[in-house]
Amino acid sequence: MMSPITTSEFSVCLLLSLLAPLAIAGMALMNAGLARSRSAAQSMMGALCLPAAAAIGYIACGFAWDELPGLPAHTFSVAGYVWDWLGAGPFFLHGLTYDVGRAPLAVLLQIFTVGIAAMIPWGAAAERWRLASATLTAALLGGLIYPLFGHWSWGGGWLASLGTNFGLGRGFIDAAGAGAIHVVGGIMALVVLLMVGPRRGKFQGDSIAAAIPGHNVVYVLFGSLLALLGWMGINGAAALLFLRVGLTALPLVIINTVLTASAALFAALLITRSRFGKPDASLGANGWFAGLVAGSAVAALAQPGLALLVGAVAGLMVPFLVEWFELSLKIDDPAGAISVHAGAGIWGLLAAGLFGSIPASAGMGAESGQFLAQCIGIAALLGGVLPVAYILLSLLDRLMPLRVDRDGDRMGMDLHELGAGAYPEFVVHSDEFIQR
């Protein structure tokens, strides 16, 4: 049975959930600002289409497979244990009761969080991913891929039961979606990038990667500020809904959200200043986002000092990860989405196991073994979600190519896909001078 929620918790959770779209807005500005001006309108169009498609996919079948603890689920038995692997609710929210309960709030929060997950690969594959196939990918993400892991961790699935079944802490804990939203989105970004390849002109033979600067760093930084509001809402609402922390814990959750982002920002700025002589604004924004992502895992579980430490490590990691993906792995990720969302998300999940003080309300089980439960959760993301995403997107790529054709590369996505540019009064684009 689901535990009850009080009317005041319901009201606060409802209000916090309404802040979540600001995270999508922040990511939309970040993605558009980090792309070239000739693809800005398509980027913003995608920021409407992808969350919309993901929300429809989630309502159509996603919530049925996601579910909440105590609701019907598909299970099987191995070695004397019951493995709950997928929700078994009705499609299109059929039979959902709109009362003072957790289920309607979970749906409300997650129609926004699937949109956030969908925006992660959109930023990574900017300027060469077709809008139509990206929209279908978002629907697949909302309808199948996100709910799969969502059920394992938030829906009372086998990862959440690692504590009761095997004595691994309180089972896998994903406080506010560091795994279910951000690592899943980061994995989708990696899979999409493997399929669409780099932007034309990014890697020329074996030479070093060409720098293709974003067109508006003000968008990027303002987007970072907007995202903070969204994250405060999501972290607070998820802590109430999934960790059942109670209203009095909310100030700490929100303080920790701000602290992880702040520590990560300064860590990223310090690293870039020491390496390049001046702090880098876009990597600083990436650091800020990395702190928010890591904070999703620990904001409800750690004391402020530890939240600062977790954020600082996330901010330190990101500039190196971005460079490693680009220079060593030759993966062209203009938004740094894999580093920020998958990298910092995995770090946050590990940190929750290392430093988190898990509330007893989160589940049964012993205190020890939490770190191992977090490691198994990460293994499930890499070994379960990634192959499913790869196979589904390979099939989609055959039906509807993900990558734009050569004309799109040459003209930019705005003219090619939408027929008009974002800034028609601009005559000269600095990126036109990049050798192709």
Partner: protein, 59 residues
Amino acid sequence: MKQIALFLLPAGLLLAVAAPVMLPSGAMRSLFVMAGLAVEVLGLVLLVRSDHVRKGSER
């Protein structure tokens, strides 16, 4: 190479999940889970490498 990579990813997961089922507790459990994660990282590296090899041959 891609098929091997796609095989290694779930194989690592199975290894990590088998640890708490088959081993009672302690260091061996942790070792098995870490080994599972290492297999997955290997699979991930192979997946990225196979993609580069494919693109190189198409160039």
